[in-house]
Subunit: 341 residues, 2 copies
Amino acid sequence: MSRLRKDPIVGRWIIISTDHPKKPEDYHTEEPQDDVSPADCPLCGGNESKTPPEIAAFRAEKSLPNSKDWWVRVIPSKYPVLHVEGSLEREGAGIYDWMNGVGAHEIIIETPEHAQRLEELPESQIEKVLWAYRDRMLDLERDERLRYVLVLKNQGWSAGSAVNHTHTQIIATPIIPKRVKEKLDGAKSYYDYKERCIFCDMIRQELGSGERIIEETRHFVAFTPFAARFPFETWVYPKRHSCAYTDISKEEIMDFSRMLRNMLRRLGIVLNDPPYNYILYTAPNRIARSGHWHTLNDDFHWHVEIMPRLIRVAGFEWGSGFYINPTSPEDAAKYLRDVKL
Amino acid sequence: MSRLRKDPIVGRWIIISTDHPKKPEDYHTEEPQDDVSPADCPLCGGNESKTPPEIAAFRAEKSLPNSKDWWVRVIPSKYPVLHVEGSLEREGAGIYDWMNGVGAHEIIIETPEHAQRLEELPESQIEKVLWAYRDRMLDLERDERLRYVLVLKNQGWSAGSAVNHTHTQIIATPIIPKRVKEKLDGAKSYYDYKERCIFCDMIRQELGSGERIIEETRHFVAFTPFAARFPFETWVYPKRHSCAYTDISKEEIMDFSRMLRNMLRRLGIVLNDPPYNYILYTAPNRIARSGHWHTLNDDFHWHVEIMPRLIRVAGFEWGSGFYINPTSPEDAAKYLRDVKL
């Protein structure tokens, strides 16, 4: 069982993962793996027996769980950082606090084919992946121990991926993560002062100036953020004010699928298929009270952050929380906007 | 001139560095450089003409600035992320804020010999480096535009270093960096509630339990933090309550030199000379008022964080601010403590 521990000074939670504790010599040997063949890849169609039993899947009518004939498949992580079993049990001693590592860690296999990148898939397949995000969020937020469902992708070795077959990670946590809390707090302060959503205001200002816009569709807009931490960092927002990804409509999913694919293709073309991470930020889990759902964060606005991993992060960034970005967001937007898709 | 920009949602400042703006193709080609020979190394003794003119140096009596015969030499960075020239000029448009990239960026050359790591140097030489840290802080905090002086080291390519000759970076910033602000705020909350320094309480609790202690000297203690973000992360604290590094005594410098060297040697032995970053956290710059110095942060306690760079940081960490550490701080402390120096 892993443990969550809290830093007493800054309040940051971390996970001490003790299922497979690492010794000093384990750190010398971490190397990117060669790509496996589809015959050996546990995420490929036909190899369902090589994974833990599936949690959910979009599959052909009448096909059995853990058989082939699926489009998208959700399995528990083989090396979960948090575990579904057990109770939270918050404890403390002196200035320190900890709790059991309760949560969920799932893998969404985005295709039965041995594709390496999401953007290689057709829009219709990406739509299914995006529905799977929604379905897993809806299911996991029913677990009252969990406060947040984080959906994220590690693309490429240096972005943290260990498996080449394209997949998404779902990590549900018993606390609201610090980075999410900072966004919620910032958005709430602005809302209290202005009585407007800060994200809606930002979208309006970006569309007004246009200098950081990469692409606009009927329902979505993609731009490089004014204060981008990383070169070619890209944000995708729904134009409609909506705090929770789970409220997305069918038409919006179709539009989002196209937008996400286009952004990843633009980054791939301009930056020669870089490693990247993307993260979907949605409101914290709704809390079941007196039999119906309350949404607590109407001042939030769901969105995706895409971060190509192009530069080394050094002591200055770790130590200060400042970032140095050697490509202006306006230049980056122009490169990405000018791509012919 | 670089610019500081503020993220409107979370309030994080970033630096858009436009002195040498990077195009997409510049990101494919970043590779570790081969070590240069001492004859070609601009940081080596005898090659003083290959660097910008020195800002300060500990050098032999009667030797001229920018000549040889020095022990420690401070030069401006050749690629500064912030510039000493100009005024701050805060500006804004709509929800966005920015200011000129005013600050300082200096390099402390830790030895005229072509050594690769600080821990290779004798204690007496490291003492000189530690005095240079203090002297640069005292000098830079007289500049009223500057709010903080960050002293940090990038050791090794993957920790952000581009030059093999051992050196320290000094970056002075016109705002208090976010990570420092979080520490100050956390310490202040605790002080308001308990009327005690949280760092002093933490040191007492660590010395009491002993399970995370690596080494204790007369004036210093080194331990792995309870909620370590990274495997083998190590913190070094002075036992005496002191908010500002600049108040360090001669005896403490001697002790600190030994302690810092020992910790870096322990990490080197256990982890096979890993890349690492260390950061010195001190109170923000004292502000000159009515002719004498005020210290504003008596609830702070200066310290050093050493972070070996052993694992890849993935989407989960970037997206959540949570960290996953696969070696418990208690195990890490035991490995480091058991080293025979």
